[in-house]
């Protein structure tokens, strides 16, 4: 495979064969099924009253209970925390993914097990233990929360990046160099475009770990970190909060979705 035959235009082949039309239909169906469970959230966000047996809400309205400064503050806190976790975990994960491939077999397996182990423990057990431990060490709440969340995200980022590096064809870089590309050009035109989808996926997964965690934030944070999941968990434990819950849920979906769209848009631009 050479640089010239990189498959950028595969999907742009126009064809309206019955097979393609059928495939298009199936794609639509699959996408609809994936989005189906989110639809009640959208509707409920603006439903002030929606009881059985009404198919459409009996009363519409803006979710006033959660439309306040507290929600905005929680949103901002969540965003900062999640962004930090995404950056740190993706960076560490990318390095670790590459390192796992290059390390000798025994080391690689052992390190893999260690890095995956954080995914094995039930989060609340980890949170309890880490709270006691961090309190003894005198570590403040928010840094401890960030660190634990990074470790919780590492299994995902490491292995996404490891898989990416596994599929990465280094001969492409060699070809680029023989064609006269400088290191920077190799980075910009070969390495980044090929790795960007995986980096974006890893970053998204890490962001979500930081964005949607409840138990670590509440126990380790010591009340200093009031994030969106705390508001959501509080609302979920009460009665009649469906509208607030749905709206907070929608709010929780928005930033990661926007970031992913941005990342994939950037990726497309790179690939031109």
């Amino acid at each position: 495979m050479t640089l010239h035959t990189m498959p950028v235009t595969r999907r742009q082949q126009v064809s309206t064969s019955p097979r393609d039309r059928r495939r298009h239909l199936v794609s639509l169906l699959v996408a609809a099924l994936l989005l189906l469970p989110i639809t009640p959230l959208v509707a409920w966000s603006f439903a002030e009253q929606w009881t059985f047996p009404a198919i459409v809400p009996q009363a519409w309205g803006w979710p006033e209970q959660v439309w306040n400064a507290g929600t905005v503050a929680a949103f901002a806190t969540s965003f900062v925390l999640a962004t930090f976790v995404a950056c740190a975990a993706t960076m560490l994960g990318a390095m670790a993914g590459l390192g796992l491939r290059r390390a000798p077999r025994a080391v690689s397996t052992a390190a893999s097990i260690l890095l995956l182990a954080a995914a094995a423990a039930p989060p609340f057990a980890l949170a309890m233990g880490a709270t006691v431990g961090s309190l003894q060490l005198g570590v403040a709440g928010p840094p401890a929360v960030a660190m634990v969340l990074v470790v919780l995200a590492l299994p995902y980022t490491t292995f996404v990046m490891r898989a990416a590096f596994a599929g990465y064809d280094e001969s492409l870089e060699e070809q680029g160099r023989t064609l006269g590309m400088t290191s920077w050009m190799v980075l910009r035109w070969i390495r980044i475009p090929l790795l960007l989808p995986s980096v974006a996926t890893a970053a998204l997964l890490a962001f979500i770990v930081g964005w949607s965690d409840y138990i670590v934030t509440v126990l380790l944070g010591g009340g200093d970190l009031i994030t969106l999941p705390l508001l959501i968990a509080g609302a979920a434990s009460g009665t009649g909060n469906e509208q607030s819950l749905a709206f907070l849920g929608m709010l929780a979906i928005a930033p990661p979705l926007m970031m992913t769209t941005l990342a994939f848009g950037l990726a497309r631009r790179y690939l031109r």
Binding site: T51, D224, I226, A235, S237, T239
Partner: protein
Amino acid sequence: MPIGSRSLLLTLAATALLVAACSPTSSNADAGQARPNDWSAATSQAQGQTVSLWMWGGDPQANAYVDDVLAPAVAAEGVTLKRVPVADTQDALNRILSEQQADREQDGAVDLVWVNGENFRTGQQSSAWLCQWTDLLPNLALTDPQDPLLSSDFGVPVDGCEAPWHKAQFTLVYDSADVANPPTSFDELEKWIADNPGRFTYPAPPDFTGSAFVRQALIESSSSTALDLKADEPDKQSVKTLMDRLESWSPNLWRKGATYPKDIAQLDRLFADDQVSFTMTYGPATLDALVKKGTFPTTTRVLPLDSGTLGNASFLAIPANSANVAGAMVVANAALSPEQQAAKADPQTWGQFTVLDTERLSKEQRSLFDKLPVSKIVPSFRTLNKNADAELPAVWVPVLERQWRATVLR
């Protein structure tokens, strides 16, 4: 920059961050702040303190009351009130216990907790709560010292370890559109369930409300002499009778008793969606707001039982390792003031029953309560409280819960 040295630099930076984070945190209050000896010391120490109140965040009215009514009131006294929403009071307790296990005796993150009898007892088991401080509160004088609901919480003596906040009454709630002749006693309820299969259920213990229902059923199922409230365990025969009775209900319950709602939120959802005709609550204050919002039908009514139901009070407790003890005391005192208690009792705000003894209030203070709007759905506390039963000892709760799960649930 070559990648190798870049990653080395990264490791160094990370280690530096680690070391920095591990340096002891500067305590946000004087280490070893002595507990104030009298009220004036408390108010002066409290100036500028920030009190973290950890409370259940599932009731929007409660949140609004604390944020918009209580917080400004204590701000006027120089204390900043920060509300930390938790999905369960147990999360706050777990934080306190973690701090205890880590030997953090001074600057705990939790300053004030809204507790019920169960959490209070758990905390007492590990000496989590600060004690002998409620006498300092001037507003405590407005409560009746002989009030059994305030001197003992689920059978555990209060001992000045928590300040009263509001009173609560366990109530059954029904939809009058479904229930033509509401039952007036537990036996009549049993008969209604048999006549209307699938329209009644209760939350599975250890849910707080479900547990209260089982306790209520215990009181109803045993003769008045059989239950010795001083014993460590409920009478075995009474428990057996109770479990047999509840098991006999199973075929007529929702889903034929194969499963029960996990918590009160799930039962309320079933009631709101007209899948069952009854629900229950330990805090009937929420009913007005739920009906107004349209979550519950307008035909929702409270079911008063002739023989009365369980009643208790909920409290504010200060953890022993709080860093802002004085500030927390100021908040507890403000919460106990007639102005705050009256504001809280307004169904439009929160609707919680007051702990104050009206006899001890001045005429103007009493008028605050007289002016309160009357709720269409929730009768006055006096009506609800008629023939009220005292709560059963807290030690009985786990026994009953375990028995229920072993016999009725499986």
